[in-house]
Symmetry: C2
Subunit: 342 residues, 2 copies
Amino acid sequence: MTRQTANSNRSVTLADVARLAGVSIATASKALNGRAQVRAETRERVVSAARQLSFTPNALARGLLLGRSGTVGLVTHDLEGRFSIPILAGAEDAFGAGQMSGLLTDARGDTIRERYQVNALLGRSVDGLIVVGDKTDERPSLGHDLPVPVVYAYAPSSDPSDCSLVCDNVGAGRMGVEHLLGCGRSRIAIITGDPTYGAAHERVQGALAALAQAGLELIGGRAMYGSWTEDWGRGAARLLVDRFPAVDAILCGSDQVARGVLDALRERGLSVPGDIAVVGHDNWKVMALGARPTLTTIDMNLEELGRLAATRLVEAIDGHPRSGRELVTGRLITRNSTAPQD
Amino acid sequence: MTRQTANSNRSVTLADVARLAGVSIATASKALNGRAQVRAETRERVVSAARQLSFTPNALARGLLLGRSGTVGLVTHDLEGRFSIPILAGAEDAFGAGQMSGLLTDARGDTIRERYQVNALLGRSVDGLIVVGDKTDERPSLGHDLPVPVVYAYAPSSDPSDCSLVCDNVGAGRMGVEHLLGCGRSRIAIITGDPTYGAAHERVQGALAALAQAGLELIGGRAMYGSWTEDWGRGAARLLVDRFPAVDAILCGSDQVARGVLDALRERGLSVPGDIAVVGHDNWKVMALGARPTLTTIDMNLEELGRLAATRLVEAIDGHPRSGRELVTGRLITRNSTAPQD
DNA sequence: GAAAGTGCCGAAAAGGTTTTCTTAACCTAC
DNA sequence: GTAGGTTAAGAAAACCTTTTCGGCACTTTC
């Protein structure tokens, strides 16, 4: 049995196109890729043959030859997808439709696993890597002996010569306080989350700076740290209003915490924002929109961060790497918890 | 300048391993792949050479040759990642570490985009496709003229000869009611979500069947449809307890709805589960655990669904396709909203 | 009319791996 | 000692595309 038996399940190759167009494989390739040395009429013939056969070039063969696969590896530690999915979406946008695909793997916070995944991805000849963390704290670098560029998103690399994209937590804290000041509040308290998270401290730091600039002090003297839960938000809010009834605004470390705070305030008979204004952090839609009143919060612009990460990666792949940490500023989303908008 | 100049950024190939081990490329390949015709001592030498050079086979070259790339395409419509991320995780588990990688693309609910993504994935020689929907309603089939098998997850294909994996919504409804009956409740009402979602109806259908079996009728005579929001849950719960004060249990269509229901009941001074027991649906952790009391709910076993989807896909790739719809049953997670567990 | 130049096209190599087929070496049995 | 058999290893083809380089045919220029 010879090889030219009809092989229906084999996909159409460039050779098929060339045969149909009556040219060589080389010419067909040049015609389809817009290379110069092809007569217009020939090119036309090839293109129409390709269309007729609905030819799709084999990305594997091309990748093997060029040493570029047109794929990037995405190593995520955030299985909830709260951070990595918007980042992936942004990356897809930045790469341009169909030009680049993302190989997504999940390392589940495990360094060994991460190393393993990176190797698997390198074996697939990815052109670059984006590492997405699950918190904004520094993480160890993957090192510089990798054959492809790496961009760290959300969690920056501890090595300042790596390229990292992070949220501007300090700026976010500042932004929250400035908004509250602009709403006429001056007795501001902070209820935030887990003190082992750098993000919690950074946001507080920014808030304190803004307060200091306005010549104000934090109600209670210090931020209240706990956990990133509604439960803690409720408990902390009760404690706060009992000890400092004069408080007129609460800046929260996350939307979950803010949600708990809002519930506790309502149960204490305090009106929001009448008596106390509340600002959250994350713009986690289901939380912020389900809250009563709907929650003013800071959106970290994760899609933008993702787009930027992808852009930086493409630049690096094209031979123009950057290094250092780049801050992505958030934006305030005003809703009813600071300024009723009926 | 010759080619053998140290080329540090070029990765180590099988030829390098073979040279170090003092064998031919063919032998090296056979040794590393566990083929038979290699002497044990030779194999040992090759393996240690490979380890020494930290050799990783080039997946592109292998894929090109075998016609299998070792990647599967994941087309998702659920950018929130609420469904697709657990499914991806399950798939990764099922494929086995590093054996298969998932090329994730997001079609954003757009059929044109989906078609485009599928073609891009096929160009990358994926071995199969998993299509993840964003709701449990039927979706159009991708057709049977694709060169690779397709498995539909969460949203089944409208073509019954496709292989689809779906949640057992009917069973979930039944499960919820049976749990409530077991807790001694008999005056059960249903507050669910958007009536344009088949899932809403199916869960109701299962619940009604279980009620009928117990010789009971639904309080209010019919399920209350609205939207998948807390707002609706609150409003519906108020309406319900005003009109039917005797109700002693509410089965909710989602955790978000349940959350609203719980809030409204608490504000009406009704105790949960003392006066009224509440069951949710989804086991969306932040919702269910943040609720007061914590929410008994039905987990749809999405990881399991994902694992199963991946398993079915691998089977199909290996030449053993299945067709038809396969139900994945959920499991009840009991928390304090039906049975206090202090 | 010959030499130089130009425009198009095709042959072939390269990229890294797997598999088939061939060869070489060694052993067993008569 | 030779024929036949068995085992281990290597040579080469195949997968599909891109690019370089060579060559052919035709045009221009003196």
